[in-house]
């Protein structure tokens, strides 16, 4: 089929919707990997966003620019994590995964297209930023990880 070059990928950088908002305002691109019918219900807005569904990602990943920060997003942050790792495999080094996804984005009052109610269906029980006594491990930090961008608290 193909010659697999096995790569030991570093842990993906994860950012929460609030940190994503800041990065998007600073010029990052949001890549929504949800399927078109999901995007039609409720979509990310107010930023530079493109939709490359995960089902098409292997064929279309080259549409993702290498020369700017890219935030991958989906409903809860699982599919976009896969896409993030795939781009890292392809040599991208300015990619990060937004976790959680659209429901938290809506809950924070960030811009959307479509219906906010639709986002509730995507709600995940997982939370990285709400009332936890345990610190989030650095590798899966929701607040900028080791980017060195001086994020501070985001949530």
């Amino acid at each position: 089929m193909n010659e697999a070059v096995k790569k030991d990928l570093a842990e993906a950088r994860e950012v929460c919707p609030t940190t994503s908002q800041r990065l998007l305002k600073e010029g990052a691109l949001l890549v929504d990997v949800r399927e078109p019918h999901e995007v039609a219900q409720v979509g990310y807005a107010g930023c530079d966003v493109v939709n490359i569904p995960l089902s098409q990602f292997e064929d279309r990943w080259q549409e993702v620019p290498r020369d700017r920060d890219v935030i991958l997003a989906c409903a809860v942050g699982e599919r976009s994590l896969k896409a993030t790792y795939f781009l890292m495999y392809q040599g991208y080094d300015r990619v990060m995964n937004m976790k959680p996804g659209i429901a938290r984005w809506v809950a924070r009052g960030f811009p959307i297209t479509g219906s906010a109610e639709a986002a509730a269906a995507s709600e995940s029980a997982s939370s990285c930023c709400v009332g936890s006594a345990e610190p989030t491990p650095a590798a899966s930090s929701c607040c900028g990880g080791d980017s060195g961008s001086g994020t501070g608290k985001c949530c």
């Binding site: 193909n2 790569k7 990928l9 842990e11 292997e58 896969k82 790792y85 495999y89």
Partner: protein, 76 residues
């Protein structure tokens, strides 16, 4: 020989591993199956669609349960 089955532990991944085990038994080949279920490791092979099969260092199949004949060809 070692064969890796890449997948998150879904039914198709299990069916793939079971098929390889069965065909290996039929042919008398000594095969070790290594199930790789961690997403980061799976994508580390450049694979997005699972189940996928790695023989040696080569991804020989991805995206579905392989056929009996495909598995046979990998073992020979």
């Amino acid at each position: 020989m070692e064969i890796k089955v890449l997948g998150p532990g879904c039914a198709k991944c299990k069916a793939t591993a079971d098929l390889i085990t069965r065909v290996a038994g039929e042919t008398g080949k000594d095969v070790t199956i290594d199930k790789v279920e961690d997403m980061r490791q799976i994508v580390g092979f450049g694979v997005m669609t699972t189940p996928a099969v790695v023989v040696g260092d080569k991804v020989v199949h991805k995206g579905s349960v392989p056929s009996h004949d495909q598995v046979l060809s990998w073992l020979n």
